[in-house]
Amino acid sequence: MHGFDFEIIFRTAPYLFKVGLLFTVKLTVLSTIGAVILGTLLAMMRLSSRKALSAVAGGYVNLLRALPLILIIFWFYFLVPYIVGWLTQAGRPIAVGGFTSALITFTLFEAAYFCEIMRAGIQSIPQGQLGAGYALGLNYRQVMRYIVLPQAFRKMTPILLTQMIVVFQDTSLVYVLSLTDFLGAANNVAQRDGRLVEMFVFAALVYFLISYAASRSVKVLERRMAIVR
């Protein structure tokens, strides 16, 4: 232990933030958007009166929620090239980039969690509203599009944002694929310069500040929305 070296943090900050954090934020935002859309579709399937649809969605969600994210990351990292190869009729696995693979993995994995949130949101809308919609002559799509989903999204916004913070933290697990997210970048510097203490403490601090500020903001937002309702 030779004392805490602040200088290395300043020196490597451009790399950590412009390469590492940008990767993390991009992965977080894109996979959250994808997962919310897919999760909402899954939630509608799960609540469907068609047994087959709800069984498929339920099985998918329960399976993914029972497995550790690291294992899922490995599964998709190796599975996606085979699926892409099969879809494009190439007859052989097609390599997809690390970012694409991570994006697909996180979208599919987090969709299971967002599905449960959206399911709760949809179920919180009183049955009478659906009945009223159908009585006005709207079909299922219109009832969902104009009555149920806008309210469900609004009600669940704080929980969706909180889950997004979880996704932000979960993205650090792309470390196992040796991708350069924020933690990966910190790890690269740490290993190269033998500065493990500085880099990991700094990484923890940055993650903490971002997550803490974000969860505080969500709380404020929750309070404001509660007054409006």
Binding site: L63, A66, P68, L71, D170, S172, V197, F208
Partner: protein, 246 residues
């Protein structure tokens, strides 16, 4: 697709020349269970202490507990694992760090994982305990105090026995989370289920067989935990109590 399935790979002898891949996966299962059980005990003890303290109405103690929870909640678990494994031994005084580094690497990773996962889970259990105590009617501690019970007795005989029953379902999902999170110990070199499957995949190139085996193991462990927790829940059930209406 041109993938060569080979399910008999599990009975072939692995790179150590002694154990079959199946035996290696089983060892992985034992590591996962070992880490999870010990971390669960630590998490229950610390989580209970922090959860109870955060309802103590002592200003500084409540703030301290809130800080504890925020600290563990806002740093990714993988980063916490690295902090415990790489940073803590460096900053410990009195040569403790050197003693840790001199440990057998596997056991070092094991105990690091137990502490890291135990404290992380404790912060989540603390939140549940606190919410559970707050969910009880305010008249309960008042009635206890009116009967002449001390503060400690109110917790011991009135609040905690009821809280334990209220928080059973969330505790079940925390236990499942803990088992899933134990896979992160693989990043510091513990060959638990995910690690064993990953190394099997690297040596054999039988990607899907390896990960399928890990998947099945996790599903079985999950199912066992769910059944166990349901049994505990049923044993603890008090007729007529709000948590037991089912």
């Amino acid at each position: 697709m041109n993938y060569n399935w080979n399910w008999s790979i599990f009975w072939e002898v692995g790179p150590d020349g002694v154990h079959t891949y199946w035996a290696t996966l089983m060892q992985g299962l034992y590591w996962t269970l070992g880490v999870s059980v010990l971390a669960w005990c630590l998490a229950l003890l610390v989580g209970l202490a922090v959860g109870v303290s955060s309802t103590s109405s002592i200003g500084w103690l409540e703030k301290l507990c809130a800080g504890y929870v925020e600290l563990f909640r806002n740093v990714p678990l993988l980063v916490q694992m690295f902090l415990w494994y790489f940073v803590v031994p460096e900053v410990l005084p009195f040569g403790w760090g050197a003693a840790i580094k001199a440990m057998d690497p596997t056991w070092c990773a094991f105990w690091t994982a137990v502490i890291c996962l135990g404290l992380f889970t404790s912060s989540r259990i603390a939140v549940q305990v606190r919410a559970g105590i707050h969910s009880l009617p305010a008249g309960q501690p008042m009635a206890g105090t009116a009967l002449g019970l001390t503060r400690a007795q109110v917790y011991r005989y009135v609040l905690l026995p009821q809280t334990a029953r209220v928080i059973m379902p969330p505790l079940t999902s925390e236990a499942l989370n803990l088992i899933k999170n134990s896979s992160i110990a693989f990043t510091i070199g513990l060959m638990e289920i995910t690690g064993a499957a990953r190394s099997m995949q690297e040596f054999t190139f039988q990607i899907f067989e390896s990960f399928a085996a890990a998947t099945v193991l996790y599903l079985v462990v999950n199912a066992v935990v769910v059944v166990l927790m349901r049994c505990v829940e049923k044993r603890l059930r008090v007729p007529g109590f709000m948590g037991s209406a089912r």
